[in-house]
Symmetry: C2
Subunit: 110 residues, 2 copies
Amino acid sequence: MDKNKVLPFCPVETTVGLISNKWKVLILRELLSGTKRFGELKNGIEGISQKVLTQNLRSMENDGLIERQVYAEVPPKVEYFLSDLGNSLRPIINSMKEWGLGYHEMVKNT
Amino acid sequence: MDKNKVLPFCPVETTVGLISNKWKVLILRELLSGTKRFGELKNGIEGISQKVLTQNLRSMENDGLIERQVYAEVPPKVEYFLSDLGNSLRPIINSMKEWGLGYHEMVKNT
DNA sequence: CAGTATCCAGAGCGATACTG
DNA sequence: CAGTATCGCTCTGGATACTG
């Protein structure tokens, strides 16, 4: 979502526009617990390919949700962490976590 | 998401599995304000095609998030409304609404 | 009105190879 | 290690036409 684009009227739509996809939410989940390296993210998110991880990281960086720190070392080291904006999404991810926990309980007792 | 599938370990992943896609969230948003007919949903969600709306409604019905009531009339009338499970997602959508409102404010003051 | 069926274009994604 | 580049397939989703 480009900052130059007109915002949708509905705030829910704005939010889904920024975190519409499954991978972005899982990346946020990883980064909520602190700064992570590229490889750590890749290992932490089951089923994500390198390409898709890179794509989503770039997109989220563009949207201002995360930040990227490159260390001039060999071998290279790149760290990702939440911006203030990204961090402000914490309540949403927590809601999703809470709901998921409740759902797990429900399924178990069926 | 099939009930027969094993649940992901992470509750966040469970939740995104059920509402991973943009349209589903917007359908939930519509139904949070009460029962809606097919046409009302179509009109209320800008940019959604009939096909995609139908697909997502079926999927959400399968997941137990919404329910479907068909009236034996001519012309046909079909109503959709949230199940208890679907209704329990309300806090998540509200979080998204709150965040979106804050984001709108932020963008305006830039 | 609320769908289903069909076709087709394009996006998304995995696999693989290469690089600073 | 953390990418980029390219290929090829799948699958989503739009457009259109038809129906109980």
